[in-house]
Symmetry: C2
Subunit: 481 residues, 2 copies
């Protein structure tokens, strides 16, 4: 075979090509450029090669090969991750799972479906919609992100307030461990399965513990009814208070989203404008769903709460078309920033709901300090903030300023008793910010688990934990033994 690899030895390329076929491997520099980053575009690194296995067995063979030859490797889905989890920091061999995109089976009676990791999130819902079912986790990228990637990042979405995040919907995983062995982990349909919660550890492990090759997910029956409210406020504090009041009233909305003035400016300039007033300070998008009986009463209660908090205008979506338009407007939120700024950095902090006004004020001060606009879009119901730092990477030093401002926003969340990520993961982006919330001992307790699964640290090394970190880990290992 006359394959020439620019990045690794030709024999490695040849041997990997033997596993997947010569048409399922990329190794020339020009072909590798598309794989130098994911949705976190600030760091870029070239992989040594990209392979496209077609089955779990091929994944296992590739992993075994890399393991034996000490080649770093990582798995990649659609590459939509926002924290850099799929960036080949060490020139990894990328195992792209985009060819493994089969819907393996659907079991409506027991509400389960089995998919391969490259299966697109929204396609699952489309595949079962005519039977009246859907898959709940709905990250904004759901039209293109893969369920394998969702598992790696424990993806959330607008509706996770009521329905939970990916981990709450995973019933089983087939996993290739970093040495090439395969295991199956399953709840067997049980709420409290025997043994340790390996499903929990794998889900959200950001591709550092194993490569998922098959996924059993829970599917849900479509709610009988859905209603959606849009509320405009002159003051952020009133909108925040309305959020608390709705939850206090015992209502669990399916979604409870908030956007501030800058965010509204962005979404109105982007693909799906709704005609939101330009001079409001905040809007809430609130959805309730469930059986028909009771929905109207919940909507009335929500309208009452909004009015008691000085809402300027509040309305209920008149039909499915209007509802969809409101959601399309919201879901373009991040990308929409491109319409009002050359670049933007998405942050992803979490705070207790009660701290919302105080943290928003601190974010305003950070924005002033750095002279950078910060838009806020957030899952207000669960206190998951997405400060969007707007900047221009062509201006010298502004990228660094944006990163610093983003980090300060996360510090504000940590100081308020919250956390540095709600759903986007740590990846490369927030490695150092892990120290805002974890002690050395606590980080070591985690890296020790990684080392059990991934003792050679060839799989997606350098992610999720602070660097230089190693000294902490070594210290810990000594202490624990």
């Amino acid at each position: 075979m006359a394959i020439k690899g620019g990045q690794i030895k030709d024999t490695h390329i040849e041997n990997l090509a033997k596993i997947v076929g010569t048409s399922a491997i990329l190794y020339k520099k020009e072909d590798l450029l598309a794989y130098d980053c994911d949705g976190f575009t600030i760091h870029r690194h070239l992989p040594k090669a990209v392979v496209f296995p077609n089955s779990a067995e091929e994944v296992a063979q590739i992993v075994k090969y890399c393991h034996e030859h000490d080649l770093p490797f990582l798995a990649r889905g659609a590459g939509t991750g926002l924290s850099g989890g799929a960036i080949p920091l060490n020139g990894e061999v990328i195992i792209s799972l985009t060819k493994m995109k089969r819907l393996v089976s659907v079991d409506l009676e027991n509400r389960r479906a089995v998919v391969e990791p490259g299966f697109i999130n929204l396609k699952l819902t489309y595949s079962i919609a005519d039977k009246g079912y859907y898959y709940a986790p709905d990250p904004s990228s759901q039209y293109c992100c893969t369920i394998g990637g969702n598992v790696a990042e424990n993806a959330g979405g607008a509706h996770c307030l009521k329905y939970g995040v990916t981990t709450n919907h995973i019933l089983g995983l087939e996993v290739v461990l970093p040495n090439g062995e395969m295991i199956e982990i399953s709840t067997n349909g049980v709420l409290d399965p025997p043994g340790y919660d390996l499903l929990g550890i794998l889900t959200g492990s950001e591709g550092t513990l194993g490569i998922v090759t098959k996924i059993t997910v829970r599917i849900l029956k479509n709610p009988e009814a859905k209603q959606t409210v849009l509320a405009y406020f002159d003051k952020v504090s009133d909108a925040s208070q309305a959020v608390s009041d709705i939850i206090s009233a015992g209502i669990v909305p399916a979604a409870l989203e908030m956007m501030d003035k800058t965010a509204i400016e962005g979404v109105e300039a982007a693909a799906f404008p709704v005609g939101h007033p330009k001079d409001i300070e905040a809007l809430l998008l609130i959805e309730v769903d469930g059986i028909s009986a009771g929905i109207d009463e919940q909507i009335q209660e929500i309208l009452k709460v909004c009015r008691s908090r000085n809402v300027r205008e509040v309305k209920v979506a008149q039909d499915e078309k209007e509802r969809e338009r409101w959601w399309a407007n919201r879901k373009t939120g991040f990308g929409a920033m491109g319409a009002i700024s050359p670049d933007y950095l998405v942050q992803d902090g979490v705070i207790p709901r009660s701290k919302l006004p105080e943290v928003l004020e601190r974010i305003r001060q950070i924005s002033e300090k750095y002279g950078l606009r910060i838009a806020n879009i957030f899952h207000a119901g669960d206190g998951n903030l997405h400060p969007l730092v707007l900047f221009d990477s062509r201006k010298p030093g502004e990228t660094e300023m944006a990163l610093a401002a983003g980090s300060e926003c996360l510090q504000a969340c940590a100081d308020a008793g919250g956390s540095i990520t709600g759903e986007h993961g740590v990846g490369i982006e927030k490695r150092e910010e892990m120290r805002f919330i974890f002690s050395d001992e606590e980080i070591a307790a985690q890296t020790n688990i990684r080392d059990v699964f991934n003792p050679k640290n060839l799989l997606n090394a350098g992610k999720l934990f602070p660097t230089p970190g190693r000294c902490v880990e070594v210290k810990r290992n000594e202490k624990m033994k």
Copy 2:
């Protein structure tokens, strides 16, 4: 000090007494007898000593002492566990957490409470009931079991169908690791916290990874309304079908319980008889809760389903008193077997709801084969069966037959694609049955995690995994390295 320990060296007793005080240690054989088993009474072993620390720091000191002197140890809450998790199989030093029973704080605004591990489950609900809040996980033993024990076993309960099990309600843990170090793990209020899911691994680890000294739990607002239905069926198959129909109708009941004829005979002979007809084959106890609007419609739908499945009689609880009586009757279920049999063994299998009729038939055959009556009480909504094998331990060989019958019931659940435990844990009881659902590799993936936390295996050794097991683990360790 003139302390004499019957089971371990006097110096150990003296040194442990220095940590907790001489009045907070038991070491005489007659005092230790009460600690030779928990709710699983078939295995009995004497501990070497029982210590009663008063603080996390004391727990850490005891653990450090045991770690340094290679003394096996384990933690114990109220001792209500049904799988033997707190039995000192190796003559462990028992660390009883019953003195650490403080309610540390309640934060209604952010819906959290912090408790010490010895705090009684139901007391938490009592403590916040006047403010309109409650703690959801409700094992039948909730009036006496501790929240620390609930964390260890990931306890469920009748209402976990809608509200989830303990792991879904734990927001943070303070943990003493098996070497005496302390770490804090917290979600910081996040649905998808950064790093690996240590909370998930610790919760349900059956006391093998660490000792929990403080627990942050989620508290919920009382549902505005609750209604409860009791339905009597002449055929188990009709009752099973009604369960499926209710779920298919899109209703998520707060609880959906089933009892068969033998179980009904027991509860009617016990402390809280309701007057159930003696000749029915099955009853369903169904509860819906939520905001008032819509509850009536759900109840009407449930009544309709029951009638379409040939219900003999169906009624709605007329007031809170009647509702409570129905629940008291159900919650005595296990103990009630004492009224109709000298001994009973509780099993705890799980099956897909659709396999209910087929597995019940197999359990009937097992009952016939062994000539032992088997009562069935179960959380039908989530397919969690509790076959109660009735036997008389005074008759030679009958205990062994009961154990064998129980194990066959679990095999039936595993064969149906289910699992060997739904909420009681593996403990000593179901160690061998782990092989029904896990391969050697899968068990090794778990024991490897244990060894990271618990490298000397002094903490609660011999639980949760099959014996001799060691050879599997060793094999695995070699393969992974």
